[in-house]
């Protein structure tokens, strides 16, 4: 039984002659305790794949199961609450609220999800691991791209989600940081039994993955 299972997913964009088939019969499963990596070039359908897996956009056909629940049978409110409680999104761009300090980004999460977030000690530890302890009272505009990305990772992990979906989480990081983030994600998957899916074109993350998939022109295949 998989944490996330996509079965025969198809996704089209546009109408009639301009209709594009972006995802072809995708079958994919991510297991708890594993870091699954989906590697593909720009335009291959990675983000579309991730948003469908996370319940953000509806596929034209096929089904998504999240912890055995058929995601697209739920209504918007139920999907919101599922995202809030079970999924942590790490987005590449614009993922922080500009008028909240780093610290307050976590405070906002506390307000909408009252239970099951990291304890202060756990958060302290996470911030240290990501080397952003010193940045807590800064606003996003005062951070570098890489710092923002690490804060976004911390924000996604803060609600202690069972499933983590990351879109290019290392795009703005140098090799040393990529190693750290790779190690952190692999370690989280293993020690806390989380299901982590990372879509990326960053081959440097391969070393930390338990499963590696390749996506090309909307077709997914497992590599060995």
């Amino acid at each position: 039984m998989s944490a996330i299972q996509l079965t025969n997913i198809n996704k089209f964009f546009g109408e009639k002659s301009s209709r594009v088939h972006v995802l072809h019969d995708i079958n994919f499963a991510a297991e708890a305790g594993q870091l699954s990596l989906v590697i593909g070039p720009s335009g291959s359908g990675k983000s579309t794949f991730l948003t469908i897996a996370g319940g953000l956009q509806t596929p034209n056909s096929g089904s998504v199961q999240l912890d055995q629940q058929p995601l697209y049978d739920l209504n918007t409110k139920q999907r919101d609450s599922l995202r809030l409680n079970k999924i942590g999104f790490i987005l590449q761009a614009y993922n922080l609220v500009p008028y909240l300090t780093v610290r307050e980004q976590f405070g906002l999460a506390d307000r909408v999800k009252k239970h099951g977030n990291l304890t202060p000690a756990e958060l302290e530890n996470l911030l240290k691991q990501l080397d952003i302890t010193e940045l807590q009272h800064k606003y996003p505009a005062e951070l570098s791209g890489g710092q923002k990305q690490r804060v976004a990772i911390a924000r996604a992990l803060y609600t202690d989600p069972a499933i983590i979906l990351a879109d290019e989480p290392t795009a703005a990081l140098d090799s040393a940081r990529v190693k750290e983030v790779g190690r952190l994600l692999a370690d989280l998957a293993q020690s806390q039994n989380k299901a982590i899916v990372v879509v990326t074109h960053d081959l440097r993350l391969r070393d930390y993955a338990d499963q590696i998939y390749e996506i090309l022109d909307g077709q997914i295949s497992k590599t060995v």
């Binding site: 995202r83 809030l84 987005l91 008028y99 909240l100 906002l108 909408v112 999800k113 879109d167």
Partner: protein, 353 residues
Amino acid sequence: MFLALKEIKHEKLRYSLIIAMIVLISYLIFVLTSLALGLARQNTAAIDSWQIDRIVLNQDANVNLSQSLLTKQQLAGIKLGAKEAYLGQVAVVAKASGHAKDSAQFIGLAADQFVAKNLELTSGHKPTNKQEIVVDTAFKDDGYQLGDRMQLNSASKSYQIVGFTKNAKLSVAPVIYGTLTAWRQLKNMGPTFMASAIVSQDRTFTATSSQLKHYSTQQFIDKLPGYSAQNSTFTFMIAFLMIISLIVIAVFLYILTVQKLQNYAVLRAQGIPAKTLVGATISQAVVLVISGLLIGTLLTAVTAAVIPASVPMTFDIPILAAVALGLILTGIIGALFPVRLILRVDPVSVIGG
């Protein structure tokens, strides 16, 4: 509330500007309302002070006191009780050396009837003969003193001020109280004319003559020359200002929301309910409007303290509070426009890259 306050704190300049707009609008509305009330008061203050429920006028007078005359013959069958009084009205120009000419309303009264009896003076005494008058304190502000004499219209004999009374204003002119005999003289009429009107504190009082007609005080006031027109002018101005403030608030919040949509999309992707974001926008509108109102109120209070007495402004707290409440509602309605945007925000739009 958390998001609303944090954002206001972080974007001080932007939100100060919006608050400044609301301050100006609320100040303008408060001042206009006070002016409207003040002018309305100047139309009716004397009538209010008589505390009457009915007025009887000649039926051909078109509910206009200055067009109405009651003759002895018309009044033949009518008995006045303790709650009725004759009123003789004539518009006059008061002049005296050393003073500018003043337009005024002369009201002739019978000394033994309730209006004259209940007249409250701030100084002096009530008229004891036809050359004595009691005048509104506006004359005092103009430099007249007890014992001073003034000329009314082109009457040959002058009149002596023997008393002052407060809030005696009719149709935005100060009132001069005198006797019915003086009224007849000023009107150049013989003794067959008794008065302009009968006023009564009894709401069931009726005139039995077919040539007379009774009206409620409100009917009478609504027909005061210019009164209704003036009131509806102010009402329209205030209503338009309310609509303008609605538009200002709606447009500002709309623009701000458009700029924030990407953030909202991220928050929605994280599973933060739309309700939280809608709440932030509405509470932001309330915070902005209330801050603006507080400063606007402060400015209004300062204005009330320094405004010269000659400017007809009345600061009526319950009415101003109702206006303030209206502005808060306006703000909330204004905030509802961008709510549509928030509800439709698509979390996918920020994930791409």
